[in-house]
């Protein structure tokens, strides 16, 4: 019967065309294309420095940066910097994202919560990250708490904004169906509303993670004795341009890798949701 025919064609109308386009290029091809520009940049960097077009005290070559990395690894410092920075980002991200989800749910689902909180949060959101640093140091001292709090503030807002906005637009028909089958309150949230906004939530988490790395450097630039931000300021004072470049490259790589991990999860999710 015609009813059954639909089973054999699971992909949506947009499915075949884009899937074919991706298949033609292949996974290796896509990776190669993405690497093209970085490799070209690296080549240009190596070319200009090796030819002596730029003095080494302004721009050391890739080889010098690599040597600086090897040197720091041998001293046992590099992994320490990377590890502490990653830890701060992950902890701050987790705390900020969880708070963003909770407050976003409150503002997105309750009219009272929206009226009470949304204006204040909008104002707090407008405060630049560096402006928090003096206060946080005053209140929480120069320990881990102040840094993680700053990163949490950075991770909070993307999650809060996307979740609150998405929850306002959950299909009312689905919510009513949930209510008709006896779901209320937290059960309704966890069974219908949160799953419905999951794609938006993941997009928000992705933004939040990027923001966490931004706020990390702000936190470490000012008051720290470890981490990639500290490596930046410390090297600036010692005139170690090679280490500055190393820190920048590491921040770029770490940010990209963590983002790619969430991106992977996002793609798997969207395949199921859409």
């Amino acid at each position: 019967m015609s009813d059954r025919a639909a089973v054999t064609a699971p992909s949506g109308p947009a499915g075949p065309a884009t899937a074919a386009g991706r298949a033609r290029l292949g996974r290796a091809g896509r990776v190669a294309l993405g690497l093209l520009v970085p490799v070209a940049l690296l080549g240009a960097w190596w070319g200009t420095t090796a030819a002596g077009l730029v003095p080494p005290y302004q721009l050391p070559g890739p080889v010098a940066v690599w040597d600086a990395a090897v040197d720091l690894v041998e001293r046992g410092q590099l992994w320490h910097h990377v590890a502490i920075s990653t830890q701060r980002v992950l902890v701050g991200f987790a705390v900020g994202a969880a708070a963003g989800l909770a407050v976003g749910a409150l503002v997105g689902l309750s009219r009272l919560g929206d009226l009470l909180l949304a204006p204040t949060l909008g104002a707090i959101r407008a405060v630049p990250s560096l402006a928090w640093v003096p206060l946080l140091i005053l209140w929480l001292k120069i320990g881990e708490e102040s840094k993680i709090t700053l990163i949490a503030i950075g991770a909070f807002f993307p999650v809060y904004t996307t979740v609150a906005a998405a929850l306002r637009h959950v299909d009312p028909h689905l919510v009513e169906a949930g209510r008709a089958f006896g779901l209320r309150g937290l059960r309704l949230l966890s069974v219908v509303q949160l799953p419905a906004v999951l794609p938006s939530l993941v997009a928000g988490l992705r933004l939040a993670l990027a923001q966490a790395w931004l706020f990390l450097v702000a936190a470490e630039l000012i008051a720290s004795s470890m981490g990639l931000g500290f490596l930046l300021t410390d090297s600036q004072q010692n005139g170690r341009v090679d280490r500055i470049l190393l820190a920048i490259v590491l921040l770029a790589l770490l940010g990209k890798v963590t983002d790619a991990l969430i991106g992977l999860a996002e793609r798997r999710l969207l395949r199921r949701w859409a």
């Binding site: 019967m1 015609s2 009813d3 059954r4 025919a5 639909a6 089973v7 699971p10 949506g12 028909h173 689905l174 009513e176 169906a177 949930g178 209510r179 008709a180 089958f181 006896g182 209320r184 069974v191 219908v192 799953p195 419905a196 999951l198 199921r272 949701w273």
Partner: protein
């Protein structure tokens, strides 16, 4: 039951026992006393009375079709019984006790399937299980209901991977999973193509035979009402302001036992009468 589509339409034989193996809830009586629903004036709109003075008594196991032109309050009437909405006047009782909030004794199937797109059909049907159903019993019940509506082969598919008719059958199975004493159907077949609609009507009769429930069926299809219902309630659209009469234009008993012949001659007159009541003259008698 003379349609040639019959054989393919019903993949499972009619079970003789309750298909879900549930509590065995029997059909419950429904009573509406002077039910009215008015919507207060919104921004730029005047207050509207959608339902007024609806008195209706539905016997346990009866199938009552609610028929009327669009905007006459058919769906609103159903929402009063389901507890998704509350009347501004009058009262609704199921089995003698008032309906308040989403009532566990009733279950709704909406015009759109309203399945959760991220869940498989099995998981969607499981949503209808009464709270506190033990896991193994629930799983078994869902499987049996999917079999009853002919979806065993599609149990692990998601709503977007199946046709509209299949999604609507899953929606019906979800409502049945609640083991309701009163089954509320809000134009459940309205969005389906003509053939699928006829199959679904037969499926509903089989389900009703297998799992007795009082059925309130909102429809705008006279044929459907005459084929399925014991009685047809014809609603009228209320005019602006307070209407002098209530929403119920008339209540008609449909003669003959189910399953009925879709082409039955004795229903022709009733059909013309109901269509006339809906404002569609049939010119049969000229």
């Amino acid at each position: 039951m003379v349609l040639p589509t019959e054989q393919t339409a019903l993949p499972s034989p009619v079970p003789t026992t309750s298909p879900g193996g549930g509590r065995g809830t029997s059909a419950l009586p429904v009573r509406l006393d002077g039910v009215a629903r008015a919507f207060p004036a919104g921004r730029g709109s005047t207050p509207r009375t959608v339902l007024a003075g609806v008195d209706l008594e539905v016997a346990p196991g009866e199938i009552v079709a609610v028929l009327g032109p669009s905007g006459c309050g058919k769906s609103t009437l159903l929402r009063q019984v389901s507890g998704l909405d509350a009347p501004t006047a009058g009262r609704v009782t199921v089995d003698g006790t008032p309906v308040a909030g989403a009532d566990p004794r009733t279950a709704v199937a909406f015009q759109e399937p309203r399945l959760l797109p991220w869940r498989t059909l099995t998981q969607n049907v499981a949503l209808g299980l009464p709270a506190g159903t033990p896991r193994p019993a629930g799983r078994e019940r869902v499987a049996r209901l999917l079999d009853l509506v002919g979806l065993s082969g599609a149990a692990e598919l998601r709503p977007r991977q199946v046709s509209g008719g299949m999604a609507q059958r899953a929606s019906l199975a979800r409502a049945l999973a609640r083991d309701p004493g009163v089954l509320l159907l809000d134009e459940p077949f309205g969005a389906l193509d003509a053939l699928t609609r006829l199959r679904m009507q037969d499926l509903l009769l089989d389900v009703h035979a297998a799992q007795p429930a009082t059925v309130l069926l909102v429809t705008h299809d006279v044929e459907e009402a005459l084929y399925l219902a014991d009685r047809v309630v014809l609603l009228r659209t209320l005019g602006q302001g307070a209407a002098p009469a209530g929403s119920v234009a008339r209540v008609v008993e449909v003669p003959g036992a189910r399953p009925r012949d879709r082409a039955a001659r004795d229903l022709a007159e009733l059909r013309a009468e109901l269509l006339d009541g809906l404002g569609v003259p049939t010119h049969h008698d000229r």
